[in-house]
């Protein structure tokens, strides 16, 4: 049972977890810099030129 568990653990790819963690950390840096409020501010407005009007 133990052997089976360890062989299964060996098959687990670690790279995706590292990549996800790095990007989550990047997002956390963005949050600490206050980017979400800027994103929210932009998303609340209609950018007419962005949708081909004006």
């Amino acid at each position: 049972m133990k052997k089976k568990k360890s062989s299964q653990a060996a098959k687990i790819r670690k790279t995706p977890f590292v990549v996800i963690f790095v990007f989550l950390a990047l997002g956390a840096v963005g949050i600490s810099l206050g980017e979400p409020s800027r994103v929210l501010e932009q998303a609340k407005q209609i950018c007419l030129s962005c949708i081909g009007i004006g």
Binding site: I12, I20, L24, A43, I46, I53
Partner: protein, 299 residues
């Protein structure tokens, strides 16, 4: 499985566009949920949109990076790229197959009975140029007198923006109709082009021009959830080629950057050679009720 996928697509469409009060307000949703990243291509100027479009937000931040830095604000896109990268690392282009409203729209158009044509494979590289130039470089370097760039992809190409925001807002706010000009007709041209193309070919926008799909595609080798090919079971019968909506030859390139993990190939494979894995562990695949390649050869 395709039935389940359609329901998931519909669910994501409703979650991404859950503000149904817009016919009354005649404006867009302006609540706090818009701080959440939409996984698929979904214009945040759409009256019903409840989350932000990662491409739109990223271009806005890049276009205004000079001004924000001058004001001492380091708004360079960490939050948006972080969200996009986390989604990419988790499922990659599976988003395109399961959670993108514009992908669903193209799939529905392709169900209209018509002659079907393939898409010339080299056209798939255009989307990487769109990502590099229209989403990153042009908004960053082509700036006006005030140091502000433009959102090139949204402004000149994005058909989702025209469909979900441009046209509905022209209906809701008739005063805006006076403002339409060449820019709008250019965008309308691309929308009509991709609508007609979607009827006669499978997912043309995803395959040739979508920069969000191009970004997620970069994670094809390292994403957590992906399809796996068992070479011992594969007979190279090419059944997976015929059913793939993205034109991927799965048995030749199982980590193809265009694979949207829709599982059509897994269903079509008679030899149980294609399965879904999470972090290296198989979680779904057909039971071995059918023949393996070796058994088929023996018989």
């Amino acid at each position: 499985m395709d039935f389940i996928r359609k329901w998931v697509q519909a669910l994501f469409f409703l979650i991404s566009n859950g503000y149904w009060n817009f016919p009354v307000t005649r404006g867009i949703y302006q609540g706090p949920l818009k701080v959440i990243c939409s996984p698929g291509l979904n214009c945040y100027s759409c009256p019903a949109a409840t989350s932000y479009c990662p491409l739109g937000a990223l271009q806005q931040l890049i276009a205004g990076v000079r001004l924000s830095l001058e004001n001492g604000q380091i708004f360079v896109g960490f939050y948006v790229v972080g969200a996009m990268g986390a989604i990419g690392g988790f499922v990659g282009r599976m988003v395109c197959g399961w959670a993108c409203p514009f992908g669903l729209f193209q799939e529905l158009l392709h169900k209209i009975p018509s002659p079907s044509f393939d898409i010339w494979r080299p056209l798939r590289w255009i989307k990487y140029a769109v990502l590099l130039f229209m989403v990153i470089l042009l908004p960053l370097f082509v700036v006006d007198d005030f140091g502000f760039g433009h959102t090139w992809f949204c402004k000149y190409l994005c058909p989702a923006g025209t469909l979900e925001a441009g046209l509905p807002l022209l209906i809701l706010q008739p005063g805006l109709r006076e403002s339409i000009g060449l820019l709008f007709f250019n965008k309308l041209f691309f929308l009509i082009l991709f609508i007609v193309w979607s009827v006669v070919a499978s997912r043309p926008f995803c395959r040739t021009a979508c920069p969000l799909g191009a970004f997620y595609g970069l994670f094809s080798k390292i994403k957590l959830v992906k399809l796996r090919l068992d070479p011992d079971k594969c007979t190279s019968c090419e059944a997976c080629h015929a059913v793939c909506p993205m034109g991927v030859r799965f048995n030749e390139s199982p980590e193809d950057m265009d694979c949207i993990s829709c599982l059509a190939c897994s269903k079509a494979c008679s030899f149980n050679a294609i399965s879904l894995e999470v972090g290296g562990l198989q979680v779904a695949g057909k039971e071995s009720g059918r023949l393996t390649a070796t058994q088929a050869v023996e018989r």
